[in-house]
């Protein structure tokens, strides 16, 4: 049959709704409940998921740093030192290893971590000796050390 006059009231309201919907649903396929099937629920869930992912990328850096610090603290306590003492004395000895690498060394290279702990401890003892003085009072000062009575 040949239609000689076209119908005027039929229009296409967008030929690709299916693909636009699938674009959103593909990110929701592993969700629980109707949010992985129904578009209206999936849109809201996917939006929240994307926003959480965006924010978490910044928080992940903070969490990783806390984890490294915890691991370094545990490893340094095995060697009789505390985390602030270790890091401060390593910085004073101009060793610029970051927490990521030091925690990796504590896990996979225990002997190297022991040598770093010894280095920090030696620097700490040096600092104590310098602070406590060499037994001679500087001229003009009665006493540098407070005697507890």
């Amino acid at each position: 049959m040949v239609f000689l006059s076209l119908s005027c009231w039929i229009r296409s309201r967008g030929p690709d709704r299916y693909w636009k919907v699938q674009e959103v649903l593909k990110h929701a396929r592993h969700f629980r409940g109707r949010r992985n099937r129904c578009y209206s629920l999936a849109v809201r869930a996917v939006r929240r998921a994307f926003v959480y992912a965006t924010k978490s990328r910044r928080i992940k850096k903070r969490n990783m740093r806390t984890l490294w610090i915890t691991r370094i603290a545990a490893a340094s306590r095995e060697h009789g030192m505390k985390y602030p003492a270790l890091m401060h004395n390593l910085t004073k000895s101009s060793v610029q290893l970051n927490r990521h690498v030091i925690s990796d060394l504590a896990i996979t290279e225990p002997r190297t971590f022991l040598s770093l702990a010894n280095l920090a401890r030696a620097r700490q003892q040096e600092g104590f000796r310098a602070a406590l003085g060499d037994g001679k009072e500087p001229p003009g000062v009665f006493s540098r050390v407070v005697f507890l009575q």
Binding site: H100, S115, Q125
Partner: protein, 216 residues
């Protein structure tokens, strides 16, 4: 910016563990702190040498709270002894390096704003663009630490260029998977969605080499 320290200032530390170390000859010279015999604990170690004018004996009367409950060891090694130990350690490590007695080396390298702990045959994925073509060999110059089984060289903060050589090859340059950057404020009709694609580079670490002789 702080100038990187040269080879003379690199501290060499030989680690001691409970595992048998091959260097039996020098083991006796290096004692860890726990093996030192505890001397009489002093509250102020310098006070013993200080002449007391009115108080004789202890600076503080000995009560239950005059001393901390943990054992106090003042292990001040005399300078001569410390220098001898240091020389022994340097000699031992030099000997090791000259005879190429170490096995696999690892290094901590500062590259692309991050520090990496690398060995030979490692693959490294860098989330940025590297100014080198695929297949080119690269030398990583900022080396912070080099270690082997029995010794570690710790740079303060960097090791010398003549001392270590870390070489890598650029394998591929790609883009990361499309990450979604989305912002949404509820009840404000505000949402923004952006697809981020970062350039990535994959490097293969070819080798880490130590110079045959160290300077003290």
């Amino acid at each position: 910016m702080r100038k990187p320290r040269k080879t003379e200032n690199s501290r060499r530390r030989r680690t001691t563990t409970v595992l048998p170390v091959k260097m039996a000859a020098t083991r006796g010279l290096w004692r860890t702190r726990s093996l030192l015999s505890p001397r009489t604990p002093l509250l102020f170690p310098a006070a013993a040498a200080r002449p007391q004018s009115s108080v004789s004996g202890d600076p503080v009367p000995r009560t239950s709270l005059s001393r901390p409950p943990w054992p106090q060891q003042t292990s001040a090694v005399p300078a001569e002894e410390a220098r001898r130990r240091h020389a022994a350690v340097v000699l031992a490590v030099n000997e090791r390096i000259q005879q190429r007695d170490f096995g696999r080396l690892f290094a901590v390298v500062h590259f692309a704003g991050r520090q990496w702990k690398v060995t030979g045959e490692d693959l490294v994925l860098i989330e940025s663009h590297v100014e080198a073509q695929c297949g080119e060999r690269i030398r990583m110059e900022k080396v912070l630490l080099v270690g082997a089984q029995d010794f570690t060289l710790v740079g303060r903060p960097l090791l010398g260029r003549e001392l270590v050589r870390v070489e890598a090859t650029v394998l591929e340059k790609t883009e990361s998977w499309p990450k979604v950057h989305m912002q949404f404020w509820k009840r404000h009709r505000f949402q923004r969605k952006k697809i981020l694609v970062q350039p990535q580079t994959v490097l293969r670490i070819n080798s880490i080499e130590l110079a045959p002789a160290l300077t003290s």
